[in-house]
Symmetry: C2
Subunit: 404 residues, 2 copies
Amino acid sequence: MSKPKGFEKPTGFRDYTPHVVTKLRTIERNVLECMERWGYRQIITPTIEYYDTVGVASSTSDRKLFKLLNSRGTTLVLRSDLTAPIARVVSSLLKDEELPLRLSYHANVFRSIEEEAGREAEFFQTGVELVGDDSPEADAEVVALAIASLQAAGVSSFKIAMGHMGFLNGLLEEVIPGQTVQQEQLKEGLLGRDYVGYRQSIEALNLEPKLKEQLEAILRLRGGKEVCTHATELSSSAEAAQSIAHLCAVFEVLEAYGVSEHVLIDLTMIGDFSYYTGMTFEGYAAELGSPVCSGGRYDNLLQQFGRSLPATGFALKTNRIIDGVHGITIEEKKPVRIQYTSECRAEALNEAARLRSIGQNVVTFLLPEDGAETSTTNVGALTGNKSMQAEQVITFGSEKGGKR
Amino acid sequence: MSKPKGFEKPTGFRDYTPHVVTKLRTIERNVLECMERWGYRQIITPTIEYYDTVGVASSTSDRKLFKLLNSRGTTLVLRSDLTAPIARVVSSLLKDEELPLRLSYHANVFRSIEEEAGREAEFFQTGVELVGDDSPEADAEVVALAIASLQAAGVSSFKIAMGHMGFLNGLLEEVIPGQTVQQEQLKEGLLGRDYVGYRQSIEALNLEPKLKEQLEAILRLRGGKEVCTHATELSSSAEAAQSIAHLCAVFEVLEAYGVSEHVLIDLTMIGDFSYYTGMTFEGYAAELGSPVCSGGRYDNLLQQFGRSLPATGFALKTNRIIDGVHGITIEEKKPVRIQYTSECRAEALNEAARLRSIGQNVVTFLLPEDGAETSTTNVGALTGNKSMQAEQVITFGSEKGGKR
């Protein structure tokens, strides 16, 4: 174990240079403003939570949680998502607010990584939670808002894949009742989009061909609204039927929103959060293989914080949008450079203040005195006006000390 | 040790409700925009750093650092300020950028607290670093920008107290040369503004009355520009003289900025960061006893990251401004409430989209079907239009199912 070098930072952690920050901040502002238009109000929760409350309630596996101990020996975690902390706040600080609650956030979250190349241990999410409404209308609202948010973030070409946990649960319980290990194995295959592995798992089951075919048929349940009809025909489970009816109702509301062209029904899709109970969805940008947003309904999470309420929501994977999507073009305003001799200082600084007050970015610089020693750093600064650091240069007094 | 209850969060950590977030975000945006006008570009650094690099370089005492171990057993810390991380970035990622570098940030920082009432373990700072310029002009720029930033944050009535580490060091070394323990004791008294303790420490010294009087006289070195003259008379140390000359030059530049009315010279003031080497300052709002901003010059910090460069900067204590200063009035836009029957859904959602596109906040709500069961949460939502949740209500279709 070697000591880190002076300028090193831990693996998976990242510095954002000004150009990238400008892009991140633009996306953050546009998306939060969009969410505000839909009546969502921002909240901020702590970076650190108790392991026994929010840590356990989060869907992040234990080994991926960043843990630390406080002075009393209690285990704390760095938040791994915002859904569990917001569930905590809804159950405490906001318990007297009227329902439904519409809340938004932009925050950094933490997942311990095993030093995989390019994986980030800290990254940003921008999302919403809609609490206290179990209707298809509420699910459709968050999907429609996810679409509006992706557009506000500059993602122009994308698809939303929408599924339902209940359909798969119902169908599996119908075909291989009680076989939880096998059910989990099949779900794992779908979660990882490993369809070869999924088929192999089916083959390994001791089932009559008709039932195997029923499980295989799930893989074809991807497409438009017609998928709902096919799905209904595939299963006689009540849970599956209710789920499909709900999903179909959500799709109809999305048609009313005028955004169904962006939405595919995909019953092979399982949200990667263990707390999802109903509709789940993921957004895919044309440029990227991994999702740029994900969301779903979680009707059992809040009761873990003592308040039983249905809820649905989503989060943009903001870092993937910054890094992988070419949507937003950032124009950085180059500052005006005002340079001056000490005799003209007040005049020059006054002009700088005037330009700033009308929205111009300005840097100021005292010219070296005639014949005076100039330090290396000041010479460095002086050569700056040839380069990208400044565009327009305004000089007060003579550079060669003419006024003196 | 009892387990935390379901909805508890660790001591010293805070949830920000929507109203407070609006205030925080307004201050953040106004201040960062102000800094951008002055040519400062935002950077973001990780929440977690190596203890051996940034942790040690920060001015936070060891016991106040939040520490954790990574999977390799290396000690990590949650950042306790942004100055040390930015010094790391300037020495690595930004090492080829032209000088001077002007960088800004808004970030949360962490200090472990011993559960004192009302102390926060995580709080926000909004600040700048100006790197690569050791002139009085640079120090004056950050003081003037601190003043502009406080004004942008809505702090209308405040004073900046400005001192210099070098004056005190020079004077102490002149009067009690080499007596580092006693020097530290006297500095502690000044840092804590414990003037009684400071006088007692002087009394305890084995010194002739004239020298004791010289140390006591420091307490009177607070006021306007005339303090520089009194200070020059008090010490014959070269370091003290140079420091006063620098401070006087900074004050003159602040006069040229037209902001010296806000500035007091206070040579009893010691910045509470151990890395300060030159000019230091603190800002006091009329409403609050504790400073709302602090800053100063730190010419030795960057060499710890392998790049020897002078630097100066400051940070607003953003939480104190949110909580303690009555500057910014936040007007929260109440959303329009559009309610509709299922038959009029498309029409209603279309109107919602139109209102949102012209900057109106809108929430939408499906009216319960005539005679249908309404769930508790939907009834809760319905009663919402009588209260603060919505102001204007637009109904599409009849609440009693008239259109059906």
